[in-house]
């Protein structure tokens, strides 16, 4: 039985009862409980089933290292799986269910796996399911997937919100135990800006449970004093419920703050991810107790000795009436003494060591009347779903049972391991400490910053110090050191003087008893969460998985959500033993962030819903939205694909808009096209290098279409360049190209041609730009009134400033449709008003807005290429028949030399042609044209592909462009395009200019 004691529990407010439910059963806890302590108070030791064998599992720990007590927490929009009961603060109305069992926690069908465990050793899945190969994908894997997994995936949207917070400090202290508080105080006394974070809801860590005095005062009082002193300092920020999750380069540290997990009714975000820049980070992250490896060490009721002590002292919970303590070190005696003091029975302390004289703690236990058996250990634990006793054996032997002792709990301690995770994340190395049989931070191999100096220090137990005096001395020194490293002068002060009880040396015990039989080893668990036993690691070594990283992956040791916080050191000790090599030679696996799992919500932060990503809107966006726009994403912009009217399909709308432009008047919102001002005495020379054709000869008032290649000769952008004055050009780019081409220009100016006098400014968003297109375009502009837009006044490929309808405009006479066309730029702030004015004057002229699909069809009818359709990063101007745009007069331009390379000049490169199906149908976009024979891989040879394909309502047939082998020389030839629908499309190679090849319509 585990139960609530009548007294005790320093974290409890016994006057405030809390209701919660576990597996549908309503239970009572009190304020200050964790879910784990409340479950134990209700005698709910069994909390889950193990991953592989579905063995009953109970609570093992009292902190974040807990491997077993993972629950599904909350319901519906607040549901979350795999939450550790030991770090979940209890609140009224909490609902939790246990995981990985069917049909119930008490009776689980999967437990049959446990009976078969002899036949499911390490690597079982790899060995069993590899043959026959196809069965893996279709039979084995789906079946295993169904059985595997711990929690359930949430079904609905997460109802909570999350956020990030950028914080800066001189010194960051991770861990609010006595070491962290002491280090923070030492650093803060120098005036440094200090941020101290503690993952639990309480300051002080283990110290108040373990006791002791500092400068003659009880340590819990010292903690309170330190906390209030730090709280009063303006240069100190203190955060509870915030874990240091990961340490990264340049002093970047992630902090994971849980704001409403303990109080879901509070307003505001649930989690906050702190993105911290710290001058220096101190990891005062304490230590984690190690289990002992004996048979049945996973039976519910077997717990870490420190956790048993925590539950008694912090929560007034007894995990059992009779607790056997088994240990290899002095610390577990504190548990025996604490239990005894609480009036509970400790039938025996089994101590694997045989000391010559009793240490003070041993003497204290004996004086309290507790039986101590030196040189003894547990042969095996008795009981199934709950401990009923232990079989005692000599540690030195093979497990012969000397005595059976009835008990309902076992408190085990295999020693302590410093929490070195944060120290290690960014390259801090470890050194093996033989005295405590543990890896500790190697101060000579600290994580180094950009300046080559250490930027992380470990302090206290995390640095391998366990006595109160050593912890305080170390923490004080580290706090002062961190202040010094961040440019502050530490106040002259001595470290607080802690008292340390002298302890007898611990004895490394990696297997209990040391000569345990195979049967015992097969029940001695290393990794509770992934069900890895001593025998599995030994088998891995025997089968040749000698590297710790390989053995880890073969056995899955330490690969569960707890990342081996309890299992790793024991596992690699067993591996070292099997390989007959010292532990430091085996080494550790890699510590990776986060320290414990953090929520996906916290990582995403505010980026969800409306602000999932920035959507860019033109000044006319809302009008489009209210007028049926079917949106198309173009980069981060949204552009209307078509304006769909009631009763129309999107296709109908596209056809209507495309026809209307050729017959009447269309308006296109062209505001998204990039506009870059290039100015300076060398601007012409600069543009001659960037564009393949000549720009420096362009006259002010004129426009010229240009192509841009990268230095490898591939097309990267195109657009119309207008010369504004002698030194100023305005370059239009594609919608997606504005920022990219701006960056491209700056890069060349800043890195290669830094001595050229050219400035570039991106003025894309300064203007709303409207394409006014169709036979009635001029009439519409004349109806607005103002500047001369006549054939003579504003010729094709000219621009002019003026006014239209009272708006200040810049009018470009350019055409991407082959129709009479103007693009009118106005101030963005007046964009909507200008659009409204055009719609008004266009009412009698058949005006319709048109979207990007109509734009595409119109340009394809004319054989105009589109960057991103006809080009894909591998296409050069020559492929597209654009030789006319490659200047022969210029000495050089970006891409010129690349075009001379043999592969670029290869006549076998596929070339642009038009394609027309024989039956007028539309070719599938992206379809490939097949050729005779097969290639070296046995695949059908190809001779071309479709780059653009549309139904043209103006020509009433399918039209397409494509790249085809020797295409321009094969006019009239019919080639085959197999579709994905089983049809083979036959298409004739034709000119890509389908409509008005002489360009008469735009020249009116």
């Amino acid at each position: 039985m585990s139960t609530r004691l009548a007294t005790g529990g320093r974290r409890l407010n016994r006057d405030a009862g809390v209701r919660f439910s576990f597996n549908g059963q309503s239970l009572k806890g009190v304020e200050g409980d964790t879910l784990a302590s409340a479950l134990l108070a209700n005698d709910q030791m069994l909390v889950g089933r193990s991953f592989k064998y579905h063995r009953p599992r109970g609570i093992v720990a009292a902190g974040p290292e807990e491997p077993n007590a993972l629950v599904n927490l909350g319901q519906d929009a607040a549901f979350e799986p795999n939450q550790r009961a030991t770090t979940t603060e209890l609140f009224d109305g909490l609902t939790a269910t246990s995981q990985n069992h069917w049909p119930s926690l008490e009776f689980d069908v999967g437990a049959i796996n446990a009976k078969l465990s002899r036949f499911m050793p390490a690597g079982f899945y790899y060995k069993m399911f590899i043959h026959p190969r196809p069965l893996w994908k279709h039979v084995y894997e789906p079946f295993i997937r169904q059985a595997a997994g711990l929690g359930k995936a949430p079904k609905g949207r997460d109802g909570d919100t999350y956020e990030h917070f950028y914080a800066h400090c001189d010194v960051l202290v991770v861990g609010g135990g006595i070491a962290g508080l002491t280090a923070a105080k030492a650093a803060a006394d120098s005036g440094a800006r200090v941020l101290i974070v503690e993952q639990t809801a309480h300051w002080g860590g283990r110290a108040p449970v373990d006791g002791g005095t500092v400068d003659g005062l009880p340590v819990d009082k010292v903690v309170d004093d330190l906390v209030s002193a730090l709280r009063d300092m303006d240069n100190v920020t203190m955060r509870l419920r915030m874990m240091g999750a990961g340490v990264y380069d340049h002093g970047y540290v992630l902090g994971y703050e849980r704001l409403t997990d303990h109080a879901p009714d509070l307003d505001g975000p649930r989690h906050r991810l702190w993105r911290i820049r710290a001058g220096h980070t101190i990891t005062a992250t304490g230590a984690i107790e190690r289990p002992l490896s004996f048979a049945g060490n996973d039976v519910p009721g077997v717990m870490l000795a420190g956790a048993v002590r925590d539950y008694v002292v912090d929560y007034g919970v007894s995990v059992g009436d009779r607790t056997v303590v088994v240990t290899n070190n002095d610390d577990a005696y504190r548990t025996a003494i604490a239990l005894n003091a609480a009036g509970l029975s400790v039938p025996v302390i089994l101590d694997a060591r045989v000391p010559s004289v009793d240490s003070p703690l041993m003497a204290q236990a004996k004086a309290a009347g507790i039986r101590v058996m030196m040189g003894h250990g547990v042969a095996k634990v008795l009981g199934g779903k709950r401990v009923t006793g232990v079989a005692v054996c000599a540690q030195a032997g093979e497990g012969a049972v000397l005595e059976e002792i009835a008990c309902d709990a076992v408190a085990m301690s295999g020693g302590w391991s410093p929490v070195v995770h944060l120290w290690s994340h960014c390259g801090g190395k470890l050194v093996w400490d033989t005295q405590f049989a543990m890896f500790r931070p190697d101060v000579d191999k600290s994580p180094l910053g950009a300046d080559g100096a250490p930027f992380v220090s470990a302090a206290g137990a995390a640095n391998g110090h366990f006595g109160l005096a050593e912890i305080l001395g170390d923490a004080h020194a580290m706090g002062q050191g961190a202040a010094r490293r961040t440019g502050h002068t530490p106040a002259k002060s001595a470290a607080p003087a802690g008292d340390s009880i002298e302890e007898a040396p611990m004895l490394p015990v990696w297997l209990m008893p040391q000569g345990a039989s195979r049967a015992l080893r097969s029940k001695a668990w290393l990794d509770y969460q992934n069900d890895v036993k001593v025998s599995d690691v030994q088998l891995a070594a025997q089968e040749g998985f000698e590297s710790v990283e390989h053995a880890k992956r073969y056995t899955t040791l330490g690969m569960a959500t707890d990342q081996g916080k309890l299992s790793n050191i024991n596992g690699l000790a067993i591996l070292s033993d099997a390989l007959n090599q010292p532990i430091p030679q085996t080494g550790t696996t890699t510590f990776r962030p986060p320290y414990t799992p953090i929520s996906m919500g916290a990582i995403g932060g505010e980026a969800r819903g409306d602000v999932f990503q920035p959507i860019r809107r033109t000044p006319m966006h809302n009008w489009h939205d209210q007028n049926g726009a079917d949106w198309e994403p173009v980069g981060q912009w949204r552009r209307p694909y078509a304006y769909v009217r009631a009763g129309e399909s999107t296709h109908d709308a596209v056809m209507r808009e495309t026809r209307n432009v050729r017959e009447n008047l269309g308006l296109l919102d062209a505001s998204t096209l990039g506009k870059l001002v290039v100015k300076g005495p060398d601007a012409g020379k600069f543009l001659d290098m960037l564009y393949t054709n000549m720009m420096s000869t362009l006259k002010p008032g004129k426009c010229r279409y240009g192509l841009m290649c990268d230095e490898n000769g591939f097309l990267i952008d195109d657009g119309v360049v207008a010369r504004i004055d002698d030194q100023t050009f305005l370059c239009h780019t594609t919608t997606g190209g504005a920022e990219r081409i701006h960056g491209h220009m700056e890069e060349w100016l800043q890195t290669e041609w830094w001595d050229w006098q050219v400035y570039v400014a991106n003025v894309t968003e300064q203007y709303a730009q409207v394409a006014v297109v169709g036979p009635n375009a001029r009439k519409a502009l004349e109806a607005l009134g103002g500047m001369d837009v006549s054939r003579e006044g504003l010729g094709f490929m000219e621009w002019a400033d003026g006014t239209l309808g009272g708006f200040d405009v810049r009018a470009y006479r350019i055409s991407f449709s082959g129709e009479l066309s103007y693009e009118i730029a106005v101030r963005a702030s007046e964009g909507q008003a200008f659009w409204d004015a055009l719609m008004a004057v266009g009412a009698d002229l058949g005006v319709m807005p048109y979207g990007t699909e109509a734009l595409h069809i119109l340009r394809a009818e004319k054989g105009f290429i589109m960057i991103g359709d006809e080009t894909d990063g591998t296409v050069i101007p020559q492929d597209l028949g654009l030789h006319w745009a490659l200047s022969k007069k210029k000495d050089d331009y970006l891409g010129k030399r690349a075009h001379l390379r043999s592969h670029m000049a290869d006549p076998e490169r596929w070339k642009l042609v038009g394609l027309e199906t024989l039956d007028g149908s539309t070719l599938p976009d992206g379809a490939y044209a097949v050729a005779q024979g097969t290639n070296a891989n046995g695949q059908r040879n190809m001779q071309g592909r479709v780059t653009s394909s549309y139904h043209s309502p103006n020509l009433n047939k399918g039209i397409a462009m494509g790249l085809v082998l020797h295409g321009p020389d094969r006019m009239g030839e019919v080639i085959d395009f197999p579709g994905t629908d089983g049809t083979v499309y036959k298409a004739r190679i034709v000119s890509p200019v389908f409509y008005d090849p002489d360009g008469e319509k735009q020249n009116v």
Partner: protein
């Protein structure tokens, strides 16, 4: 002209831990040139009445001032309806000098975040040290806010003025509302 409107028509949100308001149209002029040169100093002085600011700073009073953008770029602020004449005047002053003057007033949106928690709202979105000792009125920062570029300064000790691209105005406004949501105070700067 009366047709000119801001991106969000003066949207505001007042129910969070800080108030968020879209600022009226603001004249903004990009100046690129040699910031150490006399003609640039003269053009800046004539346009905004102040000297060329030092890196990371801005001299702004009301809707006029100058902000340091980069080693060869300044942002001139002026009343919206005087932009055209200011641009013309600057171009005159800089005639014959290698410099670029561009009106970008309509390419931008401006927001004001105000209240005692304004610093915290900003610190949720911008990777900038916003401790009062590190960032104060008179300073200027070009940075990122969540996923978009932005720049800001502090008109007074409790408020920030943000400049972003006009197309991202709705995103910025929504973003600030989320960052200022009720109950989300961080309590680190007070």
């Amino acid at each position: 002209m009366s047709n000119a409107v801001t991106a969000l028509n003066g949207a505001e949100a007042r129910d969070g831990i800080a108030t968020i308001t879209e600022v009226a149209l603001q004249g903004m002029i990009t100046l690129r040139g040699d910031l150490a040169s006399k003609p640039v100093a003269k053009a800046v002085k004539a346009a905004a009445g102040v000297a060329v600011p030092k890196p990371g700073t801005a001299a702004v009073v009301g809707d006029s001032g100058v902000c340091w953008m980069s080693p060869d770029e300044l942002l001139i602020l002026c009343p919206y309806d005087t932009v055209a004449e200011t641009v013309a005047q600057m171009n005159d002053t800089l005639a014959g000098v290698h410099a670029l003057v561009a009106d970008v007033s309509d390419a931008r949106a401006s927001f004001r975040v105000a209240g005692p928690a304004a610093r915290e709202v900003m610190a949720k979105l911008a990777p900038v040290d916003l401790h009062p000792d590190a960032f104060a009125p008179g300073m200027f920062r070009r940075t990122r806010m969540a996923q978009v570029p932005a720049a800001f300064w502090m008109p007074d000790t409790d408020s920030f003025q943000i400049v972003c691209f006009r197309s991202q105005a709705q995103y910025m406004f929504d973003l600030l509302k989320v960052a200022a949501q009720k109950g989300s105070g961080v309590s680190v700067f007070q």
